[in-house]
């Protein structure tokens, strides 16, 4: 009986955490806006082509301190998860290729860095009514998303104001959860 009560308590606790995550993360379970962008490597990348895989997207700019602090951990995450069906994209917002290429060389990313030259892709990921004072393409900067195998947003760190998660701990927890469930 005690074990059952403990189990119910644990299930309730996990359920409340899930509800809380849904409250603080925007656009969850919505279809991720599709995009086709050119990478710094000159190749074209589209979200549609990555369907069937988990896609981690990080919106960044070379001058963004949060993005730069997170960059080495993103590379580490890719190395850890690339054999588990996980793609990682950095979407650089409104900067020229030459600047991005030069600036990010120090991180030696082994995943693609995509160029959102006009900010339209970034703007498409800005939740409606959030931070209305900002330009729409400004809103997702430094955010991380996980797009699930069906192309839906499963994680969005935008409004996670509890702490800046440079080490991507919460994102990895969600990735592990998705991979375990096969969803």
């Amino acid at each position: 009986m005690k074990t059952l009560i403990k189990l119910l308590f644990l299930v309730g606790f996990l359920w409340s955490l899930e509800i809380k995550a849904q409250e603080t993360q925007p656009m969850l379970n919505q279809s991720a806006p599709s995009f086709m962008l050119t990478g710094v490597d000159g190749k074209s990348y589209s979200l549609d082509k990555a369907k069937g895989q988990y896609v981690v997207i990080h919106f960044a700019a070379t001058w963004c301190p949060f993005c730069n602090a997170e960059a080495p951990n993103l590379e580490q995450l890719y190395k850890t998860y690339r054999d588990k069906g996980v793609e990682v994209f950095i979407v650089d917002v409104k900067e020229e290729k030459a600047l991005v290429e030069k600036s990010l060389a120090r991180f030696n990313f082994s995943f693609p860095v995509l160029l959102d030259l006009d900010g339209k892709v970034s703007a498409s990921y800005a939740p409606a009514d959030v931070l209305p004072a900002l330009n729409r393409d400004e809103v997702p900067l430094a955010s991380n998303l996980i797009i699930d195998k069906e192309g839906k947003i499963a994680f969005y760190s935008l409004l996670n104001t509890t702490a800046f998660d440079a080490k991507l701990v919460k994102l990895q927890m969600k990735l592990d959860q998705l991979i375990a469930s096969g969803k």
Binding site: A61, T62, W63, C64, P65, F66, C67, N68, A69, E70, K94, S103, R106, A133, L134, N135, E138, V139, L141, A142, S143, N160, T161, A163, F164, D165, A166, K167, V169
Partner: protein, 153 residues
């Protein structure tokens, strides 16, 4: 009286201030009195909205420093732009700290006027460039334009 004005003009005389703002950063500028052919200085007042900070004038890597630029104007030479000491800002979850400014601070501008500069009032047009963040997000680099009236004695 003449002596008082002369003393004040040596250091730059602040009588009235005007403000320029773009929502997050407000720049307050004085009316400056300078003497022809001499060095003068004045302070730009800067106020950052609560909750935000801007990168300092000296930054690491590719970050955007706070800077002040003036349009070129005949008869004026800008000698020094002196920024205050930066504060440390710890990025939660990251090992590094950033050098930033927040709240209210002043930037000292030191300039010299040509000895033959016209005695008419002059207008200096400048720009404060910055890149702001709060504790969870960063905004695109922006600038605030400002104008300063300089009276020559």
């Amino acid at each position: 009286m003449t002596r008082s004005i002369a003393i004040l003009s040596l250091i730059g005389y602040v009588s009235i201030t005007q403000s320029s703002s773009n929502g997050i950063v407000t720049v307050s500028v004085p009316v400056v009195v300078a003497r022809a052919g001499e060095q003068s200085e004045f302070n730009l007042g800067v106020e950052i909205n609560e909750g935000y900070h801007v990168q300092s004038s000296k930054v690491k890597d590719e970050l955007i420093p706070t800077s002040v630029e003036f349009n070129s104007i005949p008869g004026f030479t800008f000698n020094k732009i002196i920024f205050p000491s930066a504060k440390k800002f710890k990025l939660e979850g990251a090992d590094d700290t950033l050098d930033v400014y927040d709240g209210k601070f002043s930037i000292k501008i030191v300039f010299t006027t040509d000895s033959k500069i016209k005695k008419d009032p002059h207008q200096l047009n400048g720009k404060l460039k910055y890149q702001a963040c709060d504790s969870v997000r960063c905004l695109f680099p922006k600038s605030v334009d400002f104008s300063i009236r300089v009276e020559i004695q």
